[in-house]
């Protein structure tokens, strides 16, 4: 097995720590040892001084017994090895070791060497030169200290006449102290230091091991595991990215990458699904259109023949009408696969609603669902593709009926359809359909959608966080999505994700909090602005505000069915999403959304599980200008995709029946 980063790091640090602590301990021990020896040397010197002065008068009066006794007494004391005195020619005159008295010492003996090494005796020596350390026969160390006894007047004038005036050094006092205690202390200290050094190395290695495990090994292991999972095709994987250091950044970058990969793959799968439904629709269209040709031609032919029989003629009329409806359905399926733009003609929306209701009446009656129409009498004609809008209403009615009937025996219920004309204020309703940075980079991002609509992608940069933010494209709504959380209330810079141009405008101030605004350019419609303060909902779009409330025809379809759960709400307009099991194709609301969007209108839904659902469709009385309806013919932009990261999709758009401003 190859050594890991942690092992190598620990090994490296352990070697360095060991070297540093080792050298340090060596220096400390040496210093300590030096200090102990110096202390011992001073004691030996003091002792020899004491002996010399205490024996002085005994010497003068030539009381040899007294000198001898003193030496023996002192020599018996603990820590004192030996005290002796030899004369000028090296004969031991007195000694605490009585056996060696009278013996001569060669000048080359260790006690004499300090003075006699240079060939002649030196009379005045510094303290360190007078001391020596040697090993006793049993191996322990001994500190010897010599002290020359110099001749002085009282010596040669003493009555014993032992010394003449010419002598300079009369003898040498040699004090020998045992170093056993000092050496024991040194050995003890050395053992302690080594123990401490080992502990320090072990502790620093352990700390390093724990740190590297926590800060490096675990994140790296998670990253490796995550990479392996991705390699095995699990793109939904994410790794913990809580660390604030570079590995945390790496983990976040990794998560961002897998999320984008996942998103791309999901869109690819979705596109694939759409392509296969397109192929299916084409096949079905071809197969069904042949028999329909037979039915339609025969029925229409017979209808014209049956001039005498009004009843038969009427029945054949039904066959012709319904066959033509089949034709429209098949055409609609093909249209969905191709997403054709609406063929607008001024139409009476009330009439379209009535026709749609009559188509589903029988089906509704079977499910014991009552339908009430409340149609505004003064509704002006609306420029719509009547067939497509009829399909929208039929879809909504059938969904409502299914929501009421459920799977078992229908408990019954009612659907209310209302039409009205409303003035819709731009705030909360108008959608940005084209966004550019000042240098012209496209900021509209179709890969992340809110309620099926492409978002505006910008980069937010604050002191310690940078994030990609997908702005809610609906003016006045602040349902933004950010890749990284950022502290609330922080003022951030906003940049174009492509060319990094600053979008901030220092001269524009937020009406809510006074912070600077940032803006994106909306083709032909001025600029849309948002507050740069994180969490502030301030926004402004002067071109839209100047335009004021716009007239829309509104269709509200309300049912008393089971309602829609928040989870279902998120995916409601997604193609192939169905709550009806095998009974649904999952295309109904996707087609509905596509048609309404194609008309430049909006569709909103409110629901309370268990109580019912309200769909609100708004269609503009004025045909949107071609420029404003960007991507009108672009299939990829027109088909509602699930939101990236599984974040909530179409949020309920509060309908505004009264058209209040």
């Amino acid at each position: 097995m190859k050594p890991g980063i942690g092992t190598l790091a620990i090994l490296g640090v352990a070697v360095v720590t060991a070297a540093v602590i080792g050298v340090m301990s060596g220096i400390i021990i040496r210093t300590h040892q030096g200090a102990l020896v110096a202390q011992l040397t001073r004691s030996a010197d003091q002792l020899s001084e004491t002996i010399a002065s205490s024996t002085y008068y005994d010497m003068l009066e030539n009381r040899r017994d007294a000198v001898h006794r003193e030496m023996v007494t002192i020599g018996r004391q603990q820590g004192i090895e030996k005290v002796r005195l030899f004369n000028g020619v090296g004969t031991i005159m007195f000694s605490s070791d009585e056996g060696e008295i009278g013996r001569g010492l060669d000048k080359k003996a260790e006690a004499c060497y300090a003075c006699h090494a240079a060939g002649r005796p030196l009379q005045r020596l510094p303290i360190h030169a007078r001391s020596r350390i040697y090993r006793a026969p049993d191996g322990h160390r001994v500190l010897g200290m010599i002290r020359p006894i110099h001749n002085e007047r009282s010596c040669w004038e003493a009555p014993c006449h032992a010394h003449t005036r010419e002598e300079t050094v009369l003898g040498v006092l040699d004090v020998n102290l045992s170093m056993t205690a000092a050496d024991g202390q040194i050995a003890h200290d050395r053992r302690q230091l080594i123990l401490l050094a080992v502990l320090a190395i072990a502790a620093s290695s352990a700390l390093l091991w724990a740190l590297s495990r926590q800060l490096i090994l675990r994140p790296v292991a998670a990253l490796i595991a995550g990479t392996r999972r991705v390699a095995q095709g699990d793109l939904s994987t994410s790794i913990p990215a809580t660390a604030r250091h570079e590995l945390g950044d790496l983990a976040r970058a990794f998560n961002d990458m897998t999320r984008r990969l996942n998103e791309a793959q999901r869109q690819l799968a979705q596109a694939d699904k759409l392509a296969s439904v397109g192929r299916l629709a084409a096949g079905v269209a071809h197969e069904i259109n042949n028999p329909l040709t037979g039915v339609l031609t025969y029925a229409s032919f017979l209808e014209k023949r049956a001039v005498d029989d009004a009843e038969t003629r009427a029945d054949l009329g039904v066959i012709v009408r319904e066959t033509k409806r089949c034709r429209e359905i098949v055409r609609g399926l093909l249209d969905f696969a191709r997403q054709t733009p609406p063929r607008r003609q001024s139409a009476d929306l009330n009439e379209v609603v009535r026709r749609a209701a009559s188509i589903v009446t029988n089906q509704l009656a079977l499910a014991r669902v009552r339908i009430d129409l409340e149609l505004a009498a003064d509704l002006a004609p609306v420029p719509v593709d009547a067939n497509q809008i009829q399909q929208v209403i039929v879809n909504l009615l059938l969904n409502a009926a299914d929501a009421i009937a459920g799977d078992g025996a229908s408990p019954g219920g009612s659907i209310r359809v209302r039409t009205s004309s409303v003035a819709v204020p731009p705030r909360g309703n108008v959608t940005i359909r084209a966004a550019k940075c000042p240098k012209g980079c496209d900021l509209l991002d179709g890969s992340v959608r809110l309620a099926g609509m492409p978002t505006v992608r910008v980069v937010r940069r604050a002191t310690d966080c940078e994030a990609v933010v997908h702005l809610d494209p609906v003016y006045g709504r602040a349902n933004h999505r950010a890749s990284e959380p950022c502290e609330e209330g922080v003022l951030a810079a906003y940049l174009c994700p492509s060319c990094r141009t600053r979008l901030d405008l220092l001269e524009r101030r937020c009406a809510e909090c006074g912070a600077p605004m940032f803006a994106v350019q909306v083709t032909g419609q001025g600029q849309a602005e948002w507050c740069t303060r994180k969490g502030c909902p301030g926004s402004r779009w002067e071109a839209m505000d100047a335009l004021g409330p716009q007239p829309y025809a509104q269709i509200v379809v309300e049912d008393t069915g089971r309602g829609i759960t928040p989870e279902e709400m998120d995916r409601l307009f997604e193609p192939f999403f169905t709550t009806k099991g095998t009974r649904g194709t999952g295309l109904g609301l996707a087609v509905t959304w596509g048609i309404v969007e194609g008309h430049g209108g909006s569709i909103g839904v409110e629901s309370e599980p268990g109580k019912g659902t309200r769909f609100t469709v708004r269609l503009p009385f004025r045909v949107p200008e071609p420029g404003a309806e960007s991507g009108g013919a672009d299939v990829a932009q027109r088909i509602p995709m699930p939101d990236a990261r599984g974040t909530p999709g179409p949020g309920p758009v509060a309908p505004d029946p009264g058209g209040k401003t």
Partner: protein
């Protein structure tokens, strides 16, 4: 002289061919039907008829190839293409291949009759002009 065939119908679906025969036959036109392109191109009626109604999706040789072959043989012959899979792209392709008109399936009797009458009237006018 009475023609043995006014309209040659090429469609592999008997119900479609029969429906066309019913409507156009009632309008006094003589109809010949062929189930595929090969038999239509080999049929003597092709040299004689005033109009061809041809399906696009045929077994064997495709409707598009059939139209091109017919156009080569009868440069002024009106050819109406009927298809169950009608897209603007298909319509362009068919008209480029030499068809006179494009009628998406399903159609009712009057849509068929009007288109056929219109096409025949134009050839008749063209024929008159050539004769005069």
């Amino acid at each position: 002289m009475t023609r043995t065939c006014d309209v040659l119908v090429v469609d592999d679906e008997p119900v479609v061919a029969d429906a066309i025969r019913l409507v156009l036959g009632h309008a006094g036109l003589a109809i010949t039907t062929c189930p595929d392109a090969e038999s239509a191109l080999a049929h003597p009626a092709l040299d004689d008829c005033r109009l061809v109604i041809c399906d696009l999706m045929l077994p064997g040789q495709s409707g598009l190839e059939a139209i091109q072959a017919m156009r080569a043989r009868r440069p002024t012959l009106p050819i109406v293409v009927i298809t169950g899979y009608a897209t603007p792209t298909h319509e362009e392709m068919v008209l480029a291949a030499g068809a006179t008109a494009f009628l998406p399936k399903p159609f009712d009797d009057s849509e068929l009759l009007n288109l056929v009458r219109h096409a025949l009237a134009q050839t008749d006018v063209a024929g008159e002009e050539r004769r005069s």
